[in-house]
Each structure stands twice: as C-alpha cells, then as structure tokens.
C-alpha cells in the first residue's frame, strides 16, 4: 500500500477533536463559533490535502505517512481510497459551512463542541475500512444528536429506538460475519447488516426517526447527521462485498419504492424541515438503489449522485436554515412572498434545489442519467421509479420555492436579506455544483474507478463477476 506524504487523515480527525476540547472550555458563544470555524477550516484543509496527495500517488489505496496509529494497533486503521478520497473534503466542507453560517441568534442552541466531535467521528468513519471499527464509529456517530435532543428537552424515544436497532443489527451482522470467517456468508450475516443500512438510511418503513430528528433537533445538526449518508458508506464497506446479488437487488427495489414514496411525501408537506427531510430521503434512497444495482454504470451513477447530493442538499439545507433563522419554522401552506426581501437567498434556494434533482449544467445531471441508465438495466420493470422520483422531486422543489418566495407581498420591518457569511457559504457550494456540472468528467471518472474497485472486491470474495475493462 502507498503512503501519503503527511499524516493528513489522522490530522483531519485529530484537529476537530482538539478543537472540540478547546471550544468546550470557552464561555462566550461567539468565540466558540470563531474557534470552531478555525478548527473545521483546518480540518477541511487537511482533508483536501489528503485528497490531493492521494491523487498525486495514483494508487488504489493509501495509508497515512509515518504510520502512527498503525504502530499502536498493529494494522492500517485509516486509509484513503478512490471511494473516500472526495467524500472526506466534501464532508469537511459541509461541516465548516454549517458552523460558519450559524447566526448569532442561534449560537446558544447549536453545540459547537459536539459538532466538532461529530465531524471527527464522520471523517474517521469515511477513512476506515476495518469492519468492526466502522461499526464502532457508526455507533458512536449516533451519540451527539442523542445528547442534543436530551439537552433540548425533547423526546428521544423515536431516535433512540431506531438507533438502538441500527447498532444492534450491526453488531449481530458483524458477529455472524466474523464467526463465518472468509467463506461465502449466509443470510444470517447479510440480512442484519442490510437491515441496519436500511434503518440508518431511513428506508421505508424505518424512516420516521429522520423526520423526528429534523423536527426536534437543531436544523444544523439534522443536516450534518443525515446529508453525508453514513448508511450508504456502511452499505459499501459492510454489505456490498459479501451480499449475494439477488439480495442486494431485492433491497434495491425497496429503495426505489422509498425514493418514490418520499418524493410523494415531500410534495404534500406543510413545513419546511419535513419537506427537506423527505426530499433528502428520496435522494438517499436513490443513492442506495444505485449501490444495490451492483453494475458498473449504476454504481458510478450512485456515487456521483452521492457527491452532488452532499453539495446540493447541503446548500439547500443551509438556505432553508438561513430562512428559518429569519422567519422561524417555515410554513408551506401559504405563500410567503419573501423574494423581494431576499432575492439572493431565493436564487440560491432555486439553484441548489434544482441541482439536487439533476438539472442540466449542475453536478447531479450526469450522475442522474447514469443512475437511470443503471436502474433500467437492472430493474427493467422498476427502473422507471427513478424517473418518477426525479420528476416528483423537481415538482416539490419548485413548489416549495414558489410558496416561500412568491405569491404575495410580504411586509417586514426587519432586514431579511442574506448575510455575508451565508452568501459566501452558499455561493461556494453553487460554484462547486456548477463546476461539477460543466466539467463532470473528472468526478465521473473517479467515481467509475471507485465503482470498478468495489466490484472487484465483490468478485474477489466470490460475489458476482469482476468488471470488464474493455471500452
């Protein structure tokens, strides 16, 4: 295995941890935000450096330089590969922008130390390939939102029940996989892991914890807990290599049903957060369905959509969060007419929303096409669900845009226009979305390589054929 030139991965996990400890000691919330931005900014730089360094190595997989953790644990703990390389900086970017755009009015409610802890756990998960460590990190990632719900005095039962089930299924599945050793794994090992992925990704009927979390936690925490789609990562690391094709494709059909169901639910929502939650669920289900197709095109499409989702739905969520900070919970029952007060926010809302549904010229367009292509190839009868879900999501986004920004003259005595921090954050995401849309080859090619590697890993474990490399 190749080595990076510097321990970027360990740094990108260590910096937010140290940052969390430091910020936790600060009494002034404004200072806490400032130092959190610094810590997550440094983390972002480190994660980006890891991606760049990995790109220069031209390797399939790379370990950190100096092998600090490897010496302690006796094996490679954090590695970077084709799959995780772009996910790390994008996730770090999402955390940085979320912290950066937290307004003064909200800084007392939003826990910066726990957000940094959550960032460290998420980046560690994305850098890890060891099954039990992935399971442990995924379990640990459920704790910060739980603590926030408790701190806010909200009911934690729905969240705790689902996350308890998730962790339990992971442990059971992991135990069976370990017991069965290297041979082809039985359904007793595969099904609990697959069910755990469904719970974490909010597949129907295990999605209620997500709507509950969006309603009860801060919007920032909800975005950061869901948008990086930890469930998809669990699927790739824990399930994809060992599950038989027919099991994956059966679950793929459930994902497609979830995609359409959530898109339909997004259309009838009367409140902004729940609308965002269902929109996210629909997209997350589409990504999962692509992963379960186990074809080169489907996997490539799913991985592309995953990346574009982090940017687009991340930006969309931040825009909604900015609106909510000005207006309180957003009603989608009536027209709000906010456009004249905050035109830039309206444009950002429309652009990120349309990017999430794969509008031409944005990063999701080609990924969406690949996903549809893969879906029709794998599920000739159910593949149309991807198209239906995309169509419904598109309608839902424009409907929400119309209701929030148009339809009446809104009179406000306070300034509702976009702030400097929010403008920087959302414009950064939009620039990346447009760049990815106008020059998609780089990302699509890298996702294709990642998909081919995943298929090769499956083939090496006796599940499916290795991908063919002829053009």
């Amino acid at each position: 295995m190749s080595d990076l030139h510097f321990p970027w991965l360990e740094l990108s996990i260590l910096i937010p941890m140290i940052g969390a400890v430091f910020v936790n000691r600060l009494r002034d919330p404004v200072q806490a935000r400032t130092w959190s931005v610094v810590a997550s900014g440094l983390t972002l730089m480190s994660a980006f450096a890891a991606w760049e360094d990995f790109g220069l190595l031209n390797a399939k997989e790379a370990d950190d330089a100096w092998h600090l953790l490897s010496r302690i644990f006796g094996r490679e703990v954090f590695v970077i590969d084709q799959l995780s390389a772009p996910l790390l900086p994008l996730t770090a970017l999402l955390y940085t922008l979320t912290i950066f755009t937290t307004l003064r009015t909200k800084i007392r409610r939003f826990s910066f130390p726990w957000t940094l802890v959550s960032e460290a756990i998420t980046l560690a998960t994305l850098s890890c390939k060891l099954p039990w460590l992935v399971i442990a990190l995924l379990a640990a990632s459920t704790i910060p939102p739980f603590l926030e719900l408790r701190a806010r005095g909200r009911s934690t039962r729905v969240y705790a029940l689902h996350m308890g089930l998730f962790v339990g299924l992971l442990v059971v599945g992991g135990a069976f996989v370990t017991t069965e050793g290297e041979r082809v794994h039985s359904l007793l090992a595969v099904v609990p892991l697959l069910a755990a992925v469904c719970v974490r990704s909010g597949m129907f009927p295990f999605h209620c914890w997500m709507t509950d979390l969006f309603e009860k936690s801060t919007f920032g925490t909800a975005i950061l807990t869901t948008v990086p789609i930890a469930g998809a990562y669990a699927a790739i690391r824990l399930v994809l290599p060992i599950a038989p094709g027919w099991v994956l494709q059966s679950i793929g059909v459930i994902s497609l049903v979830t995609a359409v169901y959530a898109a339909g639910m997004a259309l009838i929502q009367k409140e902004g957060r729940r609308f965002f939650c269902y929109l996210f669920l629909s997209h997350s289900a589409l990504v999962l369905s692509g992963l379960e197709m186990v074809t080169s095109i489907g996997l490539t499409g799913a991985l592309c959509v995953w990346l574009s989702m982090i940017l687009s739905l991340g930006g969309f969520g931040l825009t909604l969060r900015a609106l909510e900070a000005r207006r309180g919970r957003l009603s989608l029952i009536d027209f709000q007419g906010l456009y004249p007060h905050t035109p830039t926010l309206a444009v950002c809302f429309a652009l990120t929303g349309l990017a999430s549904v794969g509008f031409p010229g944005t990063a999701g367009f080609v990924g969406g096409e690949l996903l549809v292509d893969g879906a029709v190839e794998t599920y000739p009868h159910f593949g149309i669900a991807v198209v239906i879900a995309a169509a419904l999501n598109g309608i839902a986004v424009v409907q929400a845009y119309f209701r929030l920004f148009m339809g009446k003259i809104h009179v406000s005595t306070v300034d509702l226009s976009i702030g400097r921090r929010e403008r920087i954050a959302v414009l950064t995401l939009i620039a990346l979305l447009l760049l990815g849309g106008l020059y998609p080859q780089f990302i699509v090619e890298s996702r294709h390589h990642a998909a081919e590697e995943l298929l090769e890993q499956r083939a090496a474990l006796g599940n499916g054929d290795a991908p063919s490399h002829e053009p």
């Binding site: 009911s155 039962r157 729905v158 029940l161 209620c208 709507t211 309603e215 009860k216 169901y261 339909g264 259309l267 009838i268 409140e271 080169s296 490539t300 919970r329 009603s331 029952i333 009536d334 027209f335 007419g337 004249p340 830039t344 444009v347 509008f359 031409p360 010229g361 367009f365 080609v366 096409e369 690949l370 549809v372 292509d373 029709v376 190839e377 593949g383 149309i384 198209v387 239906i388 995309a390 169509a391 598109g394 309608i395 424009v398 409907q399 119309f402 209701r403 920004f405 148009m406 339809g407 009446k408 003259i409 414009l427 998609p440 080859q441 699509v444 090619e445 294709h448 063919s468 490399h469």
Partner: protein
Amino acid sequence: MWELDSWIQALGVTVVAAPALLLAVLGLLSLLGRLKSEQTVGRIVQVGVVIGLLASLALLGLMLATGRRQIEFGLGHWVSIPHYDFWIKFEFDRLNVPFALLTFILCGTISAFATRYMHRESGYVRFFVLFALFQLGMIVTSLACTIETLFAGWEMVGLSSALLVAFFQERPAPVRNGLRVWIVYRVSDAALLMASVVVHHLTGSGDFDNFLGRAAWPEGHGSLEGSSALLVGLLLLLAAAGKSALIPFCGWLPRAMEGPTPSSAVFYGALSVHLGAFLLLRVSPILDVSPPLCVVIVVLGLATALFASLAGRVQTDIKSALSFASLTQVGLIVAEIGLGFRYIALIHIIGHACLRTLQFVRAPTLLRDYNTIENAIGDRLPPGAVLLPRRFSDRVAAWFYRLALERGYFDAILTDWLVRPFVCIFQWCETLERRWTDFLTGGPARDLELPQSPTRTLDDLL
C-alpha cells in the same frame, strides 16, 4: 489560413456559445448584485443575440455555398467512461437551421420589445436572465445531435417557461399557474428521459445517427423497428404533447398567459409551443417505420386542433383567444407531421410563429387600435361574420358552449383523477406516520405545529 472545416467548427461553437455566455454573464452579474442599469442589460442581450444570429447566418451561407446539407460539430466527449459516452454534439441541417434562425430572430425582436415593455418593472433583470436561459435551451434543443443534449435544452426551456409564467410574483394566480405549467413539463421531461434511456439501451448510444440514420433530414432511415419504434415513439409523443399542450395537457397553455406579454409571445405563440412538433419532426424517421404511431399522432393532432378551435371561440380575453388559436395551428402541424408532410409542417411552424408573435405583441394595444379605427371611420366596427351556418339544436349548442368554456374539462379531469387521489393517498400516509411516531414517543410526537388550514391543500394551490 483556416480550412473550411475550422470555420464551420468556430461558427458552430459561436452559435451555441453566444447564448450560453449571455446567460452566464447575466446570471453571474445579477447573482452578485452588479446588474443595476436597464440599459446595460439591454445592450448585453442585444450583443448576445446578434452574435448568435450572425454566426448562424454565416453557417447557413457556408452550407449554401458549399452545397452541404448536413454539418456536425462537436465539443468532444463531455463524459466518457467504459460503456457510457456523453457527447456534446450539434448539427446543422434543413430542419434545425431554420429553427435556430427563427429562435435568434424572434428572441432578438422580442428582447428589443421587452427592453421598453418591461421598463421600470421590479423584475427587469430577472426577466432577462430567464429569457437568456430560454434562448439557450431553445438553441441547444434545436441543434442537438444526441438525445441527451436535446434533453438538457428541453429542461432549460421548461424551467424558464414556468418561472416566467410566475413572473408577477406578488399575486398568487400567476404562481399557481406557473406551478401547473411546471408539473406538466416535468411529466413531459420524464417521458423524454425514459425515451432517452430506452434508445440508449436499444442502440448503445443516444446519438441521433444511430437510431435516425446518417442521411440528412428528412431522409434518414430509423434503425428501430416494430414495437421498439412504437415504444420510443409513444414516449416521445408524450413528451411532445406536454410541451406543445396537446390533448390532454392543453389546460396549461391559457394559464401560461399570466406571464409578461413578451414572454407569452415568444414562448407560447412562437417557439416553446412548437417544440413538441419540432421533436416529432426531428425523430420523423421513427415515424416512418411505425404506421400505428403515425395514426396516433394524426388523431391527437386533429383532436387538439378541433378542441382548441372550439375553445378559442368562447374566450373573453385576447391572450387566451390567441393561445387557443396557436394551439389550433399546433394541432394541425402535428397532424401534418403524422401524415408525412415534413416540409409543409416546417414551413407552417415558421409562418405561424412569426404571425403569432406579431399578434401577441400587438395584443396589449388592441383596444386602442379598435378605438383608432372606429374614430377614423366615425362608426362602430361591424360585428364578426358567422363562419358556419347554425346546424345544431340549442341544447347541443349549449353543451358545446359549456365544453368550450370549461376548456374541455381537461384540467378538472387531471385534477380529479390524478392530483386529488395522489394527494389523498399521501395525506393518508402522513396520518399513519404521525400515529406511528406518536405511538413510539408515547404521546404527541410533534410539539410544534403549524397553523392548520384545511382548505389550502396542494390541489387548492394548483
């Protein structure tokens, strides 16, 4: 010294790049809040349109001078991985040269008109940004040489149309109508996307050459046959029906008149409304190999023309009347395509687009024109002549009148049979979910409720 092909490539790129740059410049400047002066916006738009028009005229001149009937130019592989290729490739032939020229000429005319018509409107810059998006969508769609490229342009046209219908955003009616237009367009987009995927699977790529033949339009021979051709053709027809407001999607066209007159003129009188017909002309080699498909197209076209003619007679405002008159002609054009009259359909599109644009831009001053004429002749204008002698009983005539007045009940049918059941099913699911989370929580799960307004559901907003 440049070779001829280099000139062709450069001009071709300019034709597409001019509207793309126009959109980029207007979009970026408005997003950064740097676009304040109406004069600057007007000049930028004029320059963009004129450059595109001159480049397409030069390309046409080269085609005529060299006798080439078909010129392809590509921007290379946009995305290329094993088993998947996305070419950005455009084509100039006898079908899309007239359409591209028509787009530039009408967009140029209307933008010049709009710089005055929209003077001091609060959404002046927004109008021109959306107008630029529309122009780019039209050019990409009309010059596309692969079905994926066509789809990209198709979506741009749809979005800009819906947002311009909702342009007067301080009132709820235009916004509701914009949403309805968008919903129909999304159905149309979904059909086109499915057609694109099916073509990809059947022929290995979305290149028009692969499934429409390499010969210049309209002489290509489709490689799809039998049921494949019928399936792809029906999906494309569904896409065309949504975009061109054919039956049963015709309800959105008069609603689209809520937008500013310049956009109504160029979208629903001239270009956008003909895009469905253009798509059918583009894929006409598929029609040639599937007689049942042709029959469906002719029937749909004639039915639309008949209905629109009937509905247009009872409209009480000029823009609605013009929209149904437009639809009548579009129906006839579609029928002509189904019958195999490709050139007639193309000439019909061009003539109709120009005439209707003129009528639309004159519509706001119609009453004033009538007054001027009446003042000049010193008397009232004579009532319009009855074109057909009355052949029906009063009861039948009343039935037809009501049918026309209710616009064929198509909107009501779509709402009652599609939208309402859809909303009811998902509201029922929402109730079940609420009960489930309440059960898990051991009490009411939602501690924050928005004010309930039972009368304002999705279908009310529609």
